[in-house]
Point group: C2
Chain length 289, copies 2
């Protein structure tokens, strides 16, 4: 099985837990709709790649941790699309969950996916309890009210925004979780890995801002032009287009350079270079050359 | 410290985790508003009472598990009150979270409290990892899409409702979690305790239906007459008023009788009798005599 297939299988197994006899069927269908087909699955792939680079031998933990992080990501998309936030009609090229299933089911699907993420991680660490506390903490930190994606989204309701804290929390925290979880899954100290997660998270956010301004909805599977519409801080407002592209290239370079010393350092750098190449919108590729 | 004080301290410590430097301040205030002042805190008190009855010696685990269950309960109230569900203006005698802080913060507060519940439990079991997997599973089962409170709420979106599954999931599951967690916290097998949780959950639901029909908003701190308004299945529609009160008394008896053999069986029965006496609305006390 390829790494991609392993991740899809883990996500399928997690989602299947929501549809046992006696469970309300629509909620389970909505969760499945929110998880499949996925986007690039970059967070779980990163988690696995770091675990391999650290010499991890069993994939059960890293796949489970990666799937848990991906479920948190999917949950955040469902809730961020709600009418009281972005009121997005489309996501991943199809109607958003609340458009397809109604708002009550969309709220509950997001809630249930947060729970499912914790369940999935617990299941993955059942045979290796020594890594359980650290991984549980990584997962909960990454979504927490204080510094995780939930806190990041909440910054949008503040009259005065701490932009650095906002972006670090909203986009960076799941990337940080992915690389740290990969290290812990391979019995490594995750401390040295944080910088890679932060750089990748920041690069991804800048790329997302550029796509929001320059891509077509059909290319990204969701509405564009949202940053301007909602008055959100974004890289183009701050640095202009050319400056934004240059900044993205710098961040990608910094991410590649920040891969800590480990057995699979060279392979991991190659993987990150290939992944981040896709970050730059096609329309801007010439400027980035 | 009394048991009640220990629970409030544990909840305060949990909520404090959401307000560290760099965290968005409004979200943290909303979470605190949703948790304090509380209702009867019946679920955590039950969890502690079962742990004591089973001869549990350390209270760290039972208090933490009880606080985690209470946080899940508070999260469910915040989300159930949202405009797309009950659109409730009042809760515990003050404006509901979305009325006080706006809908975005209410959605995020509920999300964050689910995460906080898992964090709180992880913290509580840090020194006793042998009970961690069972308690994590009890907590996640109690709120899951399949048979927990999230699934229970989702039944309200189904065209055809499995009423037994709906009520068991929506109200019963946190009571079942409270008694099972109490047993596990005291290193006991939780199997024999499920029946007590189920009976208490059912009794609480019947009591809630009676309050919805007969209490005044100022007595219960939230709107009444909601079951009829939302066409929800309820005990009065099913059994009439006198029948409903009789059924509640039966359930309370069954709950008391279902306390398994344990060192503190007599004390626990006395506690449950005292607690459940409050279930019956004052207006109906004469019929219940």
């Amino acid at each position: 099985m390829t790494i991609e297939q392993r991740i899809e299988v883990a996500l399928s197994e997690a989602v299947a837990r929501t549809s046992c006899p006696g469970a309300p069927p629509t909620l389970s269908r909505a969760i499945s709709y929110a998880v499949f087909p996925g986007g690039a699955r970059i967070r779980p792939r990163l988690c696995l790649a770091v675990a391999e680079a650290c010499g991890g031998t069993s994939r059960k933990v890293s796949v489970g941790a990666g799937a848990a992080i991906e479920l948190m990501h999917c949950a955040s998309l469902v809730h961020d699309d709600l009418p009281c936030f972005d009121d997005a009609a489309m996501r991943r090229g199809k109607p958003s969950v609340h458009r397809a299933f109604g708002e009550p089911i969309a709220v509950l699907a997001g809630d249930a996916m947060i729970v499912l993420a914790f369940e999935t991680l617990c299941e993955a660490v059942a045979d290796t309890p020594r890594v359980a506390p650290a991984l549980m903490r990584i997962l909960s930190d990454s979504v927490s009210a204080a510094r995780g994606i939930i806190g990041g989204q909440a910054w949008e309701s503040e009259p005065v925004v701490d932009v650095a804290a906002y972006q670090r929390a909203k986009t960076g925290s799941l990337f940080v979780a992915a690389v740290r979880a990969g290290a812990v899954a391979a019995d490594n100290d995750p401390t040295a890995w944080r910088a890679l997660g932060e750089k990748l998270g920041e690069a991804y956010q800048v790329a997302d801002d550029l796509h929001d301004a320059f891509s077509k909805p059909e290319d990204v599977g969701k509405p564009v032009g949202q940053d301007g519409l909602h008055g959100r801080p974004n890289v183009i407002a701050e640095h202009g287009v050319t400056g934004g592209v240059g900044y993205l290239k710098q961040l990608i370079r910094a991410a590649v350079d920040s891969v800590p010393h480990c057995a699979g350092q060279a392979d991991l750098r190659t993987m990150i270079e290939a992944e981040t190449r896709r970050f730059i919108p096609r329309q801007l590729a010439a400027r980035a050359a």
